[in-house]
């Protein structure tokens, strides 16, 4: 009885909410929407991390190239692997709050650490892509991905894998997904989480066998001959001085890829016209020389997706990851 009352009132409330927003957007008409006050760009993490860097770079280029004539201030909302920032955006709502996001918006809710998930927000645009790399020390017995897969098939507990993210998040699942595609029993895999960023140090000190990390971290070490890159997760071989030598999973007969994407989202109640406005702004920004220089410095790859494409992509990824996490017993 109480439940149905609650449900009923919730439905009523949400109906009111949608009514209101549709009234608002029709009032705007089909005309152009543009921001009328400073925009708040949330990095749902502390200063200095990947989200923070992306947010600050985007806001810097936007302001410098006058793509939006309002200030775009970056604010950090760290905590809960993103959950604190997401609930802040959700509470704030409106047309003047954006946030930078990447695969954790799929993983963190799947791990049961956030009630809000990707479909509680408005996808605005996909911006960049990075790929994972699986790395071993220079003196490792494994020379390519298939050597490693063979060893794992024989005994999944013989190899220890380290990554900088939590179990069930990016570094872990990128590796799990790849070796599953190669036919390894992923339930038994040994994953060591080094969240203080000591993964590379453990690998170079020969404390662990494999390091699952981002491409950028691996490239310089490989160029110096300290590590071997067994595989990268891009669909096609990459262009560039050292990275072109890294074999993809597909080249080694493993049908898998993993994109570490980054994009921009807004609150769920954002006016569709506003979302379109920001989508176009991101697109314009990515055309500028300033952006291209920064992108190359960071080793990012452009990966523009429109809001709709971004949404479909996220739904697809969510499904894949949910299945994988269930299989390794981490889905909550």
């Amino acid at each position: 009885m109480v439940m149905s009352l609650l449900l009923g009132s919730a439905l009523l409330l949400s109906a009111c909410g949608s009514n209101e927003s549709s009234v608002e957007s029709s009032a705007e008409g089909s005309g152009e929407w543009s921001p009328d006050k400073p925009i708040e760009m949330i990095a749902p993490a502390g200063a200095g991390g990947g989200w923070d860097t992306t947010a600050r770079t985007i806001s810097k280029v936007m302001e410098k190239e006058n793509i939006i004539d309002k200030r775009m201030a970056v604010a950090n909302k760290p905590g809960g692997g993103g959950a604190v920032g997401w609930s802040y955006v959700n509470k704030k709502g409106g047309n003047h709050t954006l946030f930078v996001t990447s695969p954790p918006i799929l993983f963190v809710p799947l791990n049961g650490q956030s009630k809000l998930a990707h479909n509680d927000f408005t996808p605005i645009a996909g911006v960049i892509a990075d790929y994972s790399a699986f790395v071993v020390p220079a003196n490792s017995p494994y020379d390519n991905m298939n050597d490693l897969v063979e060893a794992l098939k024989e005994d999944p507990k013989a190899v220890s894998v380290v990554g900088d993210s939590a179990p069930g998040s990016m570094d872990h699942m990128a590796f799990v997904k790849a070796v599953k595609a190669a036919g390894v029993d992923i339930k038994q895999l040994k994953y060591v989480s080094a969240q203080d960023g000591s993964g590379m140090s453990m690998l170079l000190g020969n404390k662990v066998d494999v390091y699952s990390t981002g491409l950028a971290e691996a490239t310089e070490q490989a160029r110096a001959g300290k590590v071997k890159v067994l595989a990268i997760t891009s669909p096609e071989p990459l262009e560039g001085e050292t990275v072109s030598e890294f074999p993809t999973l597909k080249e080694q007969g493993i049908d898998d890829e993993f994109v570490v994407w980054r994009g921009i989202m807004g609150p769920k109640d954002m006016d569709p016209a506003a979302a379109k406005f920001y989508e176009q702004a991101v697109k314009d920004m990515m055309e500028t020389e300033e952006w291209k220089t920064q992108r190359d410095n960071f080793g990012w790859n452009d990966n523009f997706m429109s809001g709709d494409q971004f949404k479909d992509f996220l739904d697809q990824e969510y499904k894949t990851m949910e299945e994988l996490l269930k299989e390794v017993g981490l889905a909550k």
Binding site: A73, V74, A75, K187, Q188, V328, G329
Partner: protein, 149 residues
Amino acid sequence: MIGSVERKVAIVLLLISILYLVLSFQIPTFPYSIVDADALPKGLGFLLAALSILLFIQNPTEDRKKSDLKKDEVLMLLAVAGLIFVYILLFELLGFVVVTILFLLFTSRMLGYTKWKTLSAVSIGFTLVLYFSFNYLLQIYLPQGILPF
């Protein structure tokens, strides 16, 4: 006989350790780990329980300085704590500048600072300098609240 403050503390600590243990035993298990997430908390819970029993037995009253907290002093401490609480409550609502000026005025006055002119000058000057150097120089945004800047 319970008597000494130490023994009362020991009992409180024992209760805390029991509560902590109860919570520790509710931590969900993870099928594939060698030492699971609940191992250390369980150990710590028992350790704290043991230590609090030891504290009860040892009853080390002698090493505590005699403190004679007067009643009005305790009230003063509670009042400051209350003001801090209100400060946090209104921090994002009214914004940094307004609540900070009010807090400085109220608290300093309550603690016995009587020079109103200096106090207002310091409160307003200090707050504004901090606010502008944070929001414009450091680009660390303190809440602006009801003010337009």
